[in-house]
Symmetry: C2
């Protein structure tokens, strides 16, 4: 395969990088300053709170996140330490650990979600120019 030097593809990758970094930096900054939440922490909380189930397995969470298994483990640990989620061993399959948001977690998520949405809205242009 000759691998045509696709300059346009490279340019699109650059655009993607720029958009991703701009938005994620803005999110990180806003969530961190206003709610003391990192992006990964908000994302985890968001998945837990918006899920139809009241608890989820760690590996279910992981499937929906862009985080390594160990990073997720630590993220959940941080959230647990702050009393935002609870971890519990599953009785059916005792290898598994379930994670559930606490009331405090739901409250904080309710506070942080508008901030998240506002940042996304500020960057509407960057997001709308996608397919």
């Amino acid at each position: 395969m000759p691998l045509t030097p696709d300059v346009e593809l490279c340019e699109r990758w650059r655009q993607l990088m720029t958009r991703y970094h701009d938005i994620s930096c803005a999110l990180e900054r806003a969530l961190s300053q206003q709610h003391d939440l990192g992006i990964s922490e908000f994302e985890t909380l968001d998945l837990l709170v918006t899920s139809p189930c009241d608890k989820q397995f760690v590996h279910e969470l992981q499937a929906n996140m862009h985080l390594s298994q160990s990073a997720l483990s630590r993220t959940v640990a941080r959230l647990e330490k702050r009393g935002l989620v609870t971890r519990a061993m599953c009785s059916n399959d005792r290898r598994a650990v379930t994670v559930a948001p606490t009331e405090a977690g739901r409250r904080l998520h309710a506070e942080a979600a508008p901030t998240h949405a506002a940042i996304l809205s500020e960057h509407r242009g960057d997001l709308q120019s996608q397919a």
Copy 2:
């Protein structure tokens, strides 16, 4: 401003995150395994080699990269230690430092660029569905 809960915007952000992570992980893996270069290192080398000028200031590089000033400093330091770039104080403005690729740096870039392009090509679908 009522901040309509824009689900679609959120969905687009999710797509952007997924695309970014998929591609950057693939790039990182390929460049790292085949050429012992991290993404930031390749990006830096790429900017230097493809620039019309033979040398650039660190702050010029930074303007084109998504890296903090200190992270860029370390990246350049790593490249310099491997003999891929040279750093030199600017004689006109002695605060500034210029960075230039060495012959070895140009050679390694020539080797790595096809790998970079190949990964981008593999992910053509993810990139083409942008505007």
